[in-house]
């Protein structure tokens, strides 16, 4: 046991899907467990922060950290794990690019908290109670909890990251390849994303149906439209394939992209190929240039573009934190913090 390398898993602002992905290794997880010792994995095993603190620096061969860095607690934990680990792997879209939680960077964090706790359809909160970073109990003692930061951040915006495993969630074959590469020491240069850099379209089974010249006449919503089985972008359903790296598809299924296999357009969870500054803008550029040329150009383009109701939501679903303008500046058009009503929600 002593000569096996130690690994740690940690989750920040995360849905738990990345933890699930580890379990998705199915029987292959036995190979992984045979090869390593797990020294920290709060979601599955009973470890405490002190179990990490008492270890010497660099004790863990590798830490797999998933989730968006959203609070002072996450920051403290990832900084601790960075000290105690030889390698840090950003695991999944959230730690790679900020993920879905970082869409909140487009809004004021106070608005988001107020909305989530008082205004959503499924919330029953007649007293308008909102979690506080500090709470003084009438009996005298004080409780502190985590404190949200202004923006949700990708892992490498907080600590030094050695490798990235992309995906929401990370597919099992990539996890296994990464673990084996780390164990064998056969690693690519630091900072690499452990997935092919070619665009998703290059392995798409619908690639053959992509016309020579794209002439998109309308933007359609996927769940409201009939899919004729051809290239989604040619049909006018936005597919992030052109601006997304490949690697999500299992080699057992010819590397065909996961979402396309179940007739869904790509949502871009793998992030952009190497060398792309901003995935959302790359996709915006691709879809805009696919629009058809018509005599009444301006009116037609306006009509089509109006159908893209939420461009940021489409193009930055998984990567707002890594966008060039990675949050909404204060001032310009920003809403004021919402006053939470004392009684009853809105």
């Amino acid at each position: 046991m002593a000569d096996k390398p130690w690994v740690a898993f940690y989750w920040c602002g995360s849905c738990g899907g990345c933890e699930e992905a580890v379990v998705d290794l199915a029987e292959k997880i036995l190979d992984v467990v045979n090869a390593v010792n797990i020294g920290f994995w709060p979601v599955a095993l009973d470890f405490k922060k002190s179990d990490v603190e008492e270890k010497p620096d660099g004790f863990f061969a590798v830490s797999f950290i998933n989730g968006t860095v959203e609070s002072d607690e996450h920051r403290e934990m990832v900084e601790l794990l960075r000290r105690k680990s030889g390698l840090v792997v950003a695991f999944g879209s959230c730690s790679h690019m900020g993920g879905i939680p970082s869409l909140r960077n487009l809004y004021d964090v106070r608005d988001c908290v107020n909305y989530a706790y008082t205004k959503t359809v499924s919330t029953v909160n007649p007293e308008g109670t909102i979690p506080q970073p500090r709470f003084k109990h009438p009996a005298g003692h004080e409780t502190t909890t985590m404190n949200l930061e202004e923006t949700g951040k990708a892992l490498d915006q907080v600590i030094d990251v050695d490798y990235y495993l992309p995906g929401c969630s990370v597919p099992a074959h990539l996890i296994l390849d990464a673990v084996m590469a780390i164990l064998s020491g056969n690693l690519p240069p630091k900072g690499s994303v452990l997935s092919p850099s070619k665009a998703l379209c290059s392995v798409c089974p619908r690639q053959e149906t992509k016309p020579e010249k794209m002439q998109v006449k309308d933007i359609k919503r996927h769940h409201l439209s009939e899919d004729d089985g051809t290239c989604f972008n040619a049909q006018g359903m936005i597919c992030m394939g052109p601006a997304t790296r490949s690697g999500c598809g299992s080699p057992e299924k010819d590397n065909a992209p996961r979402c396309i296999l179940v007739n869904m357009p790509c949502h871009g969870c793998f992030g952009p190929p190497d060398g792309t500054l901003d995935q959302g803008l790359a996709m915006l550029s691709a879809i805009a240039s696919d629009l058809d040329y018509t005599p009444d150009e301006e009116a037609d383009i306006d009509r089509i573009i109006e159908k893209i109701a939420d461009p940021a939501g489409y193009f930055y679903l998984f990567g707002t934190a890594k966008s060039l303008i990675h949050g909404r500046p204060a001032g310009e058009g920003k809403t004021k913090p919402v006053e939470v009503p004392k009684e009853g929600g809105a």
């Binding site: 202004e150 500054l277 550029s285 629009l291 150009e297 383009i301 940021a312 303008i325 949050g327 500046p329």
Partner: protein, 147 residues
């Protein structure tokens, strides 16, 4: 006094040549623009525009050939589509879409280069300095108490 910083992407075949004409005709225009010559306005990727804003530009001006006149057939038509969609995205990231402007200027329209640069500079001067760089810095570090 606040002087706007404006990045201008001019296409080689029309607008840049038009700017050359303005120069040899000794037309005076606002010195706030930093002109970058590109082979075609279709080369102006939205990434370049947003990077200019992220790096501190107060405004971005794109100049291309008139529709139908593109040296590469359809480059400026693609620019127009990207420009329209980018304008729809910009408010979501808190950048005023008025800070981005597209103008068709041919090689013979030196006076239009002068007028466009002058009027766009005045517009950006009225809008004031862009808040993007400052906010990027604060957002990256600041912690707040919610609630």
């Amino acid at each position: 006094m606040y002087e706007p910083k404006i990045v201008a992407f001019f296409c080689n075949w029309c607008t840049y040549t038009g700017a050359d004409l303005a120069g040899v005709s000794r037309m005076q225009y606002a010195p706030n623009v930093r002109v970058i010559r590109v082979m075609c306005s279709g080369r102006v990727d939205p990434e370049l525009v947003m990077k200019a804003f992220a790096d501190g530009a107060d405004g971005v001006l794109i100049g291309g050939c008139h529709p139908g006149d593109c040296h590469y057939q359809l480059g400026n038509h693609k620019t127009f589509r990207r420009y329209k969609l980018l304008k729809a995205l910009m408010p979501q990231f808190g950048v005023d879409p008025e800070r981005l402007h597209l103008e068709w200027i041919s090689a013979s329209e030196g006076d239009k280069v002068r007028d466009t640069v002058n009027s766009f500079t005045e517009k950006i001067r009225k809008l004031g300095p862009s808040t993007v760089p400052d906010t990027l810095n604060t957002l990256r570090s600041k912690e707040v108490e919610h609630g």
